[in-house]
């Protein structure tokens, strides 16, 4: 708390009180607002994609999957590898984007399979243990997965701690580079991410509400025993959900591989994991709607704080710091999160 307080004070020192008026005047400008809004939407797209799988897994299974970020990292590398395989310098931009969606589908399929194997192999034996053990076990998966990826990268001669530039180089900058919109220069890759994010939300929503498995999942998270009594194979739904959740994590990775602010690297795992936690907990563990709303809130706050940092506040960690402060504030005011149910997952 003192750390937070100190930080707030440091931030305040950097913003002389008199300039708050100045900030507001600066903000009351259409171009600025549109810029922040677009940035916020792009961040929403990223955050909702990162967090969707985590939310899904916790919603049904009550398992807080610490390996989520590592799966995102794995997805980024797999995506990069596929794109480098498909795309050469001669490939046209539109074709590249088509390949990108093919890559997404492929990576989703592969990591969904991996997730299912993990669930059956190591997570299933510990459902009857205290929730602590699920955190511990998935954390163990992080250690192993990260190291395996490092080994493969070393064999391929790729730096594991810095962004994989070759994979990022497959980005078609004719389409996804800088464009003038409303008189502001924006990178189209960010709007592309917004679209991907919305697609992920729609697809997940459809999966949850319009398919038989979605029905089983919702029934299982409402009352697992009752669902089982009615003949639903809850165990199999668990495997499917864990797989799909892992697949969604990997999708986010494929998307971030092109992003100039993220890129494929091993530290990407922890970075995205923390964001995913913040979003899912603010939204309420186990509520998909909450996750979507929280991703929008966090995205907007992040965009606003990034703008503040660039223009007014001399503190580089401001967006991240405020993000965690929002998390703390939400947990203080509403411990179960915005849309969370207090007893979800038996905690």
């Amino acid at each position: 708390m003192t750390g937070a307080l100190h930080a707030a004070l440091a931030a305040l020192e950097a913003v002389p009180l008199a300039s708050i008026g100045e900030i507001l005047t600066d903000l009351a400008d259409l171009e600025t607002l549109v810029g922040i809004g677009l940035d916020g939407l792009s961040k929403f797209g990223i955050y909702v994609t990162i967090a969707a799988g985590l939310s899904l897994i916790f919603g049904l299974m009550g398992v807080l999957n610490f390996a989520h970020g590592s799966l995102t990292m794995l997805g980024a590398y797999l995506g990069g590898a596929f794109m480098l395989f498909f795309v050469s310098s001669a490939t046209g931009d539109v074709v590249t984007i088509v390949f990108f969606f093919c890559t997404m589908a492929l990576v989703f399929a592969i990591v969904t399979g991996l997730g299912a194997v993990l669930e059956i192999g190591v997570i299933r034996p510990i459902y009857d243990r205290p929730p602590l053990f699920q955190i511990l076990l998935t954390f163990g998966i992080v250690l192993v997965l990260d190291e395996v990826v490092r080994i493969v990268l070393e064999l391929e001669g790729i730096q594991s701690s810095t962004d994989w530039q070759a994979a990022r180089g497959t980005r078609p900058d004719e389409i996804l580079g800088f464009h003038e919109v409303f008189g502001i220069s924006i990178r189209a890759i960010y709007q592309f991410q917004t679209i991907v994010g919305i697609l992920v939300v729609v697809a997940t929503w459809w999966f949850l509400t319009r398919t038989r498995y979605g029905l089983h999942i919702r029934a299982g998270s409402e009352d697992g025993e009752m669902a089982q009594a009615l003949g639903i194979d809850v165990r199999r739904s668990f495997t499917v959900v864990f797989g799909v959740g892992a697949g969604l994590a990997a999708l986010a990775g494929v998307m971030l591989m092109w992003d100039p602010r993220y890129g494929a690297s091993v530290p990407l795992g922890v970075e995205t994991l923390l964001i995913a936690f913040v979003v899912v907990i603010i939204g309420g563990l186990g509520s998909f709607k909450g996750t979507v709303v929280a991703a929008a809130i966090v995205g907007l706050v992040d965009a606003l704080m990034s703008w503040l940092f660039v223009n007014h506040v001399d503190f580089a960690g401001l967006p991240e710091l405020v993000m965690f402060l929002v998390l703390v504030l939400v947990l203080v005011a509403r411990p179960q999160g915005l849309y969370g149910v207090e007893e979800v997952g038996g905690h």
Binding site: M1, G3, A10, P131, L136, F139, G140, V328, L331
Partner: protein, 440 residues
């Protein structure tokens, strides 16, 4: 975890009851105390002779081989302070059941407090403040922070508690990475060149025993007290830090064995019942968290004092908490001493698989005949296998061991041992030995 997690509970009470007639005279008290602490004394003795043993063993005929397996004294210093950190983590997480996932925050506070003080950046504290005073002050600061965080976080339980403490720690992490008071490039952290004095300062009645510790720069002694034993810089730091860690361990153990500790265990086993019985569990949790934060910061302070360099990544990071978590699970969750063995295991493994000259990979490369090194299947040779699978790969095997422990040995090394013996090792082992020998 389970109800038999700390079987010491029952036997401790019996022991107290029987004490009145057992403790006949003064000599008897001493004998009994020694018997009760025989295992402690044995462990301390092993630690105490380790640096000398290491020097002796690596000088023998199979010295090169032993050097691969045995941790160096330098590594053992890290075992001590990281061990203390893991013990402080176990104190709150293992005994009350509240997983403090942001425990690195306290470690970081301790580390930065010492590093900033030595750099003269902490108001009212001289740069030459003795380390003991620094770590106590850092500990108190951390305890206050723990109380502030606890006041908010203990309204939550389970996963939510773990997450909010992680959130607070990340606030600290982001803050320290960008706080330019630390230095011109806060992401690189802060360091100092001189060693720090550890020991009792020369004030008022205090005797002023003192040594300087620190990697590379600390004191060293030759021919100590005419015994012909030389103490290297690492040895001096090892003993000085070892004494502090030992005192901290016994303080925490005392608390765990007191009625206060019993309530902490009651909270872990069934908090509602503990509350129903009439305990103000919130106050107990707050107290336990503050104590845990205090010792976490002490560990961080010792780390900074020895390493002379701290950065956000080796103090406030999530993976620092992870070290404690791994150690606690492997050593035994809720056993207090277990995490020290967990860290020992971890560091020995890391030492064997390290890329340093004394690591296994280097040893194999230099000592295996080239016919074996170049043999292999297809493109892959044994040499490549060594480079890829052994050289600096401790994380992989540690992860696998960790998963296996979580799945099959949930009580950890010490916890399983206690369950087998039916009590804490310190209590049960001497009794068993006596039965074996036929006395008593």
């Amino acid at each position: 975890m389970s109800s038999d997690g700390d079987p010491g509970a029952g036997s401790g009470d019996d022991h107290d009851g029987a004490g009145s007639d057992r403790f006949g005279g003064k000599g008897e008290v001493l004998r009994q105390t020694l018997a009760d602490h025989a295992v402690h004394i044995a462990v301390i003795a092993v630690f105490a002779v380790y640096p000398l043993l290491y020097t002796w063993l690596t000088g023998t005929g199979i010295g090169t081989e032993l050097d691969v397996v045995l941790p160096r004294t330098r590594t053992m210093v890290a075992v001590l302070y990281v061990g203390l950190f893991a013990i402080s983590f176990d104190f709150i997480s293992g005994y009350t059941g509240y997983l403090s996932f942001g425990h690195a925050l306290f470690y970081g506070i301790g580390a930065y407090f010492v590093a900033l003080t030595v750099n003269g950046k902490v108001p009212f504290l001289a740069e030459t403040t003795p380390l003991l005073l620094m770590i106590v002050l850092a500990g108190l600061l951390a305890a206050v922070v723990a109380l502030a965080i606890g006041a908010v976080s203990f309204r939550l339980t389970g996963v939510y508690f773990a997450m909010i403490t992680l959130g607070f720690a990340e606030v600290g992490h982001v803050f320290i990475r960008n706080w330019d008071y630390v230095g011109s490039n806060p992401r690189d952290g802060i360091g100092f060149f001189t060693g720090v004095d550890i020991g009792l300062p020369d004030w008022w009645l205090l005797p002023g025993w003192n040594v300087t510790i620190g990697q590379i720069v600390g004191d060293e002694f030759t021919n100590v007290l005419g015994t012909g034993i030389d103490l290297s810089k690492a040895d001096v730091s090892f003993y000085a830090i070892g004494i502090v860690v030992l005192v901290c361990y016994f303080l925490m153990q005392r608390i765990i064995h007191s009625p206060y500790g019993r309530v902490m265990i009651a909270i872990r086993e069934n908090e509602e019942r503990a509350r129903a019985v009439g305990y103000n569990t919130f106050r107990y949790k707050m107290g336990a968290f503050a104590i845990s934060g205090f010792f976490g910061a002490v560990a961080g302070g010792l780390f900074a004092g020895y390493k002379r360099s701290v950065s956000p990544e080796n103090s406030f990071d999530l993976f620092v908490t992870a070290d404690a978590l791994l150690a606690a699970i492997i050593g035994g969750f809720g056993t207090l001493a277990g995490p020290l063995y967990g860290i020992l295991f971890q560091d020995v493994l890391e030492g064997i698989l390290s890329t340093d000259p004394h690591g296994l990979a280097r040893y194999l490369r230099e000592n295996l005949p080239s016919s074996i090194l170049e043999a292999g299947l297809g493109d892959a040779t044994v040499l490549e296998g060594i480079n890829v699978l052994l050289d600096g790969r401790a994380g992989l095997y540690l992860g696998i061991v960790f998963i296996l422990f979580v799945l099959y040995v949930p009580h950890g090394i010490l916890g399983t041992l206690r369950n087998r013996l039916g009590g804490t090792v310190a209590e049960q082992l001497p009794a068993r030995l006596r039965r074996y020998v036929g006395r008593d």
